[in-house]
Symmetry: C2
Subunit: 120 residues, 2 copies
DNA sequence: TCACGCGCTTACCTCGGGGTAAGTCGCTTA
DNA sequence: TAAGCGACTTACCCCGAGGTAAGCGCGTGA
């Protein structure tokens, strides 16, 4: 596939539109590796997120074909979320962005150093 | 370098913060390939952008170390913009995003098909 | 003397993403 | 009979990204 400057910019914009949103990346990285999580699991795993925001971002990711939703008809309700195959395949692309950030010239300061909490 | 889910999300967010902005990707793709463009060149090449926006996005990209600015002290003024080496190296990473988008399942419709103008 | 080109800068407004707080629904358990 | 769990939904507010329109400073050509 070949791109003009305009169509390439468009294409990347489309991808960014999927990823931009205060909580989407955090959700994605919770789900990478084939994890399946309930709504309440995510709520607990992502400190600071509200139910409204969590649902909204999940719905958008679902509409974009990145995450999938499984409803178990029970009471109390149980809903599980996981990545689609295509969603999983985002991982290497994001890795590309991360390694670009790692190559940032040092005079930019700590702007690109991901706040390091020690590996769990 | 190793990441936790949180720090990886953070790292990608940092990159996205650099790229998100109505006109930044369009500017980047005008500059990819080592092109050097004057302010007024960019203004003409990017239909719809206002001077305020163009300057703002350029300044942010400059602050983030992605583009560089050369001022020629003349009258009328002449200022040129081009990518830094690090900025150029963004290209393959963005390609990764584009090819991910190309692999989008067809049931998502045209959401990920970059609006195709024919190659110039 | 006056307008013009170039690269900005400033003031002002609009719209929507994201935040908080509270409500809902259906079943179950004390 | 009342409280609670889990997954949402709704109403309301706020702030900042981005848009429009106009002004500025300097030297040159008409």
């Amino acid at each position: 596939m070949t791109y003009t400057p305009e169509s390439a910019a468009q294409g990347v914009q489309n991808v960014i539109r999927v990823l931009e949103g205060r909580w989407k990346l955090v959700i994605l990285f919770q789900l990478f590796g084939g994890h399946v999580r309930r709504f309440s699991d995510l709520e607990r795993a992502i400190p600071g997120v509200s139910q409204k925001m969590l649902i909204q971002q999940l719905r958008q990711l679902e509409a974009d074909g990145v995450v999938a939703r499984i409803v178990h008809h029970q009471v109390p309700p149980k809903v599980e979320y996981h990545l689609t195959a295509w969603g999983q395949s985002l991982c290497p692309a994001l890795d590309g962005l991360l390694s670009w950030a790692e190559r940032a010239p040092s005079e930019l300061g700590s702007r690109f150093v991901a706040a390091g909490s020690l590996p769990s």
